[in-house]
Symmetry: C2
Subunit: 158 residues, 2 copies
DNA sequence: TATAACCTTGACGTTGGCGTTAAGGCGCAA
DNA sequence: TTGCGCCTTAACGCCAACGTCAAGGTTATA
């Protein structure tokens, strides 16, 4: 345990402020193993690193990217319903101005969904790129290991 | 209310079986407004349509696509941690066989994540296509409305 | 050294998303 | 008309992901 708080270490309140989550959430993540238990001051105060801050932000990005409640799904399904009703009552003899208004409304709703989906796809693609780079890095490391082995033991293996 | 169950109508048990959710879940979705209240038989039994079945399947697809718990996020973050440890102890002088095993393990984990992300992106892209087609449909309808107006009132407007 | 600001660990509350009895009605075949 | 399976609502239970006190310890600053 650290006796003194070092310059680059943060207390839970600062981490909370900088990540936008509550202190409760930080302790909760620690409890659930999402954050490794941080160091402590003598008195027991948690001391976080910049790495921890990054991790929290990462977790929140993932949550934002992947987490959708039934309430969110309801919005999407409701939009579908609006569309279905519109289609059902699409009577060419009805008031054109009304139709146009409904159509505009349906367009708005659909565009909102479209925007959200596009954003999520973009974020997902960034993750994909990161993972791909990581895999390539591993491949390079493997090659390095192969070469080390070949250089180190060419005579012994004969 | 329907007196008799018609040929194309389904009771809750059948819907549950065909959608893979429980009866409780179907009632729950209705309660939360995700499913419109279905018709009833005289005795009060729910009568669902094929449309309802589609809706339930749609809801589940969305849930599967978008829903990820902290437990799932923990898996991803844990994989990051494995990588960080690996990187930290990458000591060229250490046992090569060990390194290779760790590297293979890290590769496995990363590939698993990569696969999941790719699947989700693909599903998202399908949604994107659907929404895009919908928007184009709306555009066509708007044009039709424009033309109807032009055809119907060219003289009156002068 | 006192006091405000910050922190600690409980422990109970809340909302979402259902699972699980419980107690009883409905539908249909024999 | 009785039996059996399917259905109804009501109500309690459970886990996740926190929010919200409560009671008290720590640190920094005057």
């Amino acid at each position: 345990m650290a006796n003194e708080k070092q310059g680059d270490q943060l207390q839970i309140g600062e981490v909370a402020e900088r990540t936008g989550v509550t202190q409760r959430t930080l302790r909760f993540y620690e409890e659930k193993g999402l954050l490794r238990p941080p160091e402590r001051m003598e008195g027991g105060f948690r001391l976080y690193s910049e790495e921890d801050v990054k991790r929290v932000k990462h977790i929140r990005r993932l949550q934002d990217l992947l987490g959708v409640s039934l309430a969110g799904i309801k919005e999407m399904v409701d939009a579908d319903e609006v569309l279905r009703e519109l289609r059902a009552q699409f009577d060419p003899a009805a008031a054109i101005a009304d139709k146009r208004r409904q159509l505009n409304r349906a367009t708005e709703v659909t565009e909102a969904q479209y925007t959200i989906v596009k954003q999520k796809i973009e974020q997902m693609r960034q993750m994909e790129v990161q993972l791909d780079e990581r895999l390539k890095l591993f491949q390079r490391w493997k090659k390095e290991l192969d070469e080390m082995e070949r250089d180190a033991a060419p005579t012994r293996s004969q």
